[in-house]
Amino acid sequence: MWIRMLAAMLVATLLLIALLSANPDYRLFMPGLLEGAVLTVEITLLGAVLAVFMALTAALAKLYGPLPIRWLSTTYIEIFRGTSALVQLFWLYFVLPQFGVFLDAFVVAVLALGLNIGAYGAEVVRGAIISVARGQWEAAIALNMSKAQMLRRIILPQAFTAMIPPWGNLFIELVKSTSLVSLITLADLTFKAQQMNQSTLKTVPVFTLVLLMYLAISLTVTIAMRLLEQRASRGLTRGRVA
């Protein structure tokens, strides 16, 4: 049901973009904005991969690592959750070079946003893991599984289902934070929009299109997560009655 409604919204958004770009005033900006949108999507996708990796690693480290590893993980989570993503971007892009470390702007964008969202994600993953019923661990022990086997085969698959909705939120947060990378010289959707707005002063067409493009990207993310949720909850919640 929800997925159909979301899909309808996405189609409507895309149609609106197509309709608007029939107007020459709007069409003028399309190629540049699409270019920016591609970069936004690239940073989102790579950032998401890094975020999921960091979140899993940090959560498992915080839950099951030896003490120093647990500290390290907590430090990472608190620093990247507790400071602004913009400051993190600036740090990696403008401050690190002062210490002789030069990173490409694109790399910095993926790194900063991935680490930032990953820190939030770590708590999502941790929460999902500890929400798996105790009896599941006990059954796995009774079947003589090793800790790694329990996690991999029993606990994480169940935690995975519980963590999909909050991850949906985080990915949308990620889409929106990519606009910050315009401040470290990357020509993403927001950067392109500002550039075109400044050179043409056609504020309404430029920012209308940008708004719709962000919405289209976010809706796509939401739909993908809903589909994933449906697939993952097979047998878990709404089992067909035998």
Partner: protein, 259 residues
Amino acid sequence: MNDMPMVRFENVSKRYGALTVLDSLNLDIGRGEKVSIIGPSGSGKTTVLRMLMTLEAINDGVLWVDGEPMTHMLQNGKLVPATTKHIRRIRAKIGMVFQSFNLFPHMTAMGNCIEAPITVLGMKRSEAEERAAELLNMVGLSAKKDHYPSQLSGGQQQRVAIARALAMRPKIMLFDEVTSALDPELVGEVLQVIRKIGREHDLTMLMVTHQMGFAKEFSDRVCFFYQGKICEQGSPAEIFGNPKNERTRQFLNAVLEAG
């Protein structure tokens, strides 16, 4: 080694803070013996099974399984606390069925039964499936093998759980109030399966139960626990027919009155 009992609790104690749940328990369970543990709630009876399954650590004493210490290991003739590896080697001999079934909800009945044989024992998938199919047939659930736990009744889930435990070929099976979470009309089908495996498999069985009728008919020995100790034990005829201890009598009267 065969003169050793299958399970031996040697001065085993369990405490939670100031609360002593089990007080220096000594209990031997022979090979192939069927032992029922009864007693009021809080008497420590479930803790006995949970310690044996290594779900609870013990505070004192030594737990022996099949002639070897499980909670400890011999090093230069002395008992030292066991490593995880040692515990897993011994634990392989024990299977357990829980009050709340604890099936893996993301796997079908078949998936539940082949998971550990494949990941833990390294069995080939085809071999594991063949064995699981036999066991599911034995518990009367061949037709439900592709169903998820959420699609099964409580009694069916518990029967899958029994098949899952047997798939690991344990020597000892622990049953922890396995019918307590079931609707009354489903109790019979689960007890029927336990009777069957008692007959057909050469298993040592240890069960905590509130089904006095079943304990009486099925067990070789009944242990009555009270306040962390074995208050009285003996054959079902002795315990149910002629209990010597006042506590046992009170408990049995209360249980029988409740029906």
